[in-house]
Amino acid sequence: MTTYKETFGKLNRAALIPFFVIGDPDFETSLSVVKSAIDAGADVLELGIPFSDPIADGPTIQKADIRALNAGMTVRKALDFIKRVTDYKSIPIGLLVYYNLVYQYGTEKFLKDFKAAGGSSVLVADLSIDDSDEIAGPAKEAGLETVFMITPVTTDERAERIAEKTTGFIYTVSLLGVTGERASLSNMVKPLVTKLKTLTDVPVCVGFGVSSPQHAKAIAAAGADGVIIGSRIVKMIEDNLNDKQKMQSEISVFITQVKSVLE
């Protein structure tokens, strides 16, 4: 397994981190799409286990969750999926998950099994730093890195505490709101990244609303260590459900384009 430190350290540019809902629209198609994203140049993967009530997500990812659940995705299968991806290529995988799924599986067992599947870090969307004990300790125990979110309304005092608990990277939410495409990049990115860079040495990645190569370029220019692109890519799955060839090629082309502006 490659650690985030190694990955971010090796790159002399911002890392490209596409996000996928595991099993969207079904297990095999999802696996092919993720593999082609790796081939097209993804540096790190952010993968989400679908949940029935994803309160941090906008309509695009909600629909992806429903597609994956309807196609029979389970937590166990999601861990198998991750194993299949890391068998294909050794790439850092950050997991995005809602707490109830981890809790029902058994937190310690979940983290151990995720680590065994080749995963790198877990971000629980609905667990703040105040409840981080429920995940940070067992995650460390399992040999995983921690990722927490910081948003434009996070106070400096909280941001410092969050940075202290983070070993992987800080997931910087670029705007106020849920995931989803936006026409223009939030003007909060630059000041937020600049502030975080003075607070911490852990890598700072930016996500939410990142929708174009231009957005990615601006985030990199702001000094971020990584760019996370979710809804824009998930939408390409939604738009090409009847043509899997086209789905895969559109995503590959997009990732190649973003990669080229980051290089």
Binding site: V75, Y99, Y105, S128, L176, V178
Partner: protein, 393 residues
Amino acid sequence: MKYKGKFGEYGGFYVPEVLMPALEELEEAFYKYYQDKEFVTQLNKLLGDYAGRPTPLYYAARFSERLGLKVFLKREDLLHGGAHKVNNTLGQGLLAKFMGKTKLIAETGAGQHGLATAMIGALFGFDTKIFMGTTDIERQSVNVHKMKLCGAEVIPVEGGTGTLKDAINDALRYWTANVTDTFYLFGSACGPHPYPTVVRHFQSCIGKETRRQCLEKIGSLPDMVVACVGGGSNAIGIFSGFLGDKDVRLIGVEAGGEGIKTGKHAASLVAGRIGVLHGSKAYLLQDEQGQVLETESVSAGLDYPAVGPEHCLLKDTGRAEYVEADDDDVLDAFELLSKSEGILPALESAHALAYLCSVKESLSPDITAVVNLSGRGDKDVGIVEKYRPVMTK
């Protein structure tokens, strides 16, 4: 956060980081004002003059006769808006005003909380948005019109089954994007801390009044206090007055829908397992994986897969008992109260009545029961007509 917001292992604040500053702000404001003299004076005046408190404790003689025990009704249905919800919306609304907020959002199931929020939105001059599932909009259309008449914008939520859970999901998403200037007026004693504590506090007037009225009217405490439980705000409101009275049985009645065995119900305390939804650890209706299940109930206000954290603790400690009533029995109880007393109960509240009907044989005639009649049934007449056409003819 100053406090953990835990009731035993339940409760807490399982929310995305972006919501934390708003919850901290709310917690701080609540503890700053809830005992503040000016705040309490203004709230009590509004509870009296605007909402109509205190509500009567009414001895339902003819209903009692039919059941063979003594039944008193706590008439929250007589409050302005037709339900106990206004106790909480006045409290939180005034809190929002003291905090200098001007925009309100709220979720609603049956529309009672939505209406109560719309009312105080008009009263305080707030810009108010109500999130409501499309299924609920259809089955509670009268309340939708009332909310709009009070100047609120009703935002239809299509996700999931178009019920309360989905309305909360979208209200939380909206709040995430508008967290700096918007107050989320949560309707039930669940959700992330501090809401279970805040809502319990503002509903505790029901329990305080009821206890005092029992001593005045009956000369003693009742043998049992019965209330319906969806999220659990009216139940925790009335239970809170009797928690220290160990001889008073506290009974919460959940929505049994078509029957627990059919899986089509909303009885989280009776049939759920501990899980995390909407910021709170509580009994939750979910599949083995932890995906939240769809619920079903004749009453939109109880159609929710989780429940307030304090009820979970009261169940575990045995201080309160939780049971369920099926749709059919609820409709029977609705009919019985209407025919015997000329009081149309909300279908939610009819669950509490249905429980008493179901156990009447096993209770001795000198048993005294207080039922929290949390809302009136005008909003449900259309539904009752659909299920029981013969009843209204």
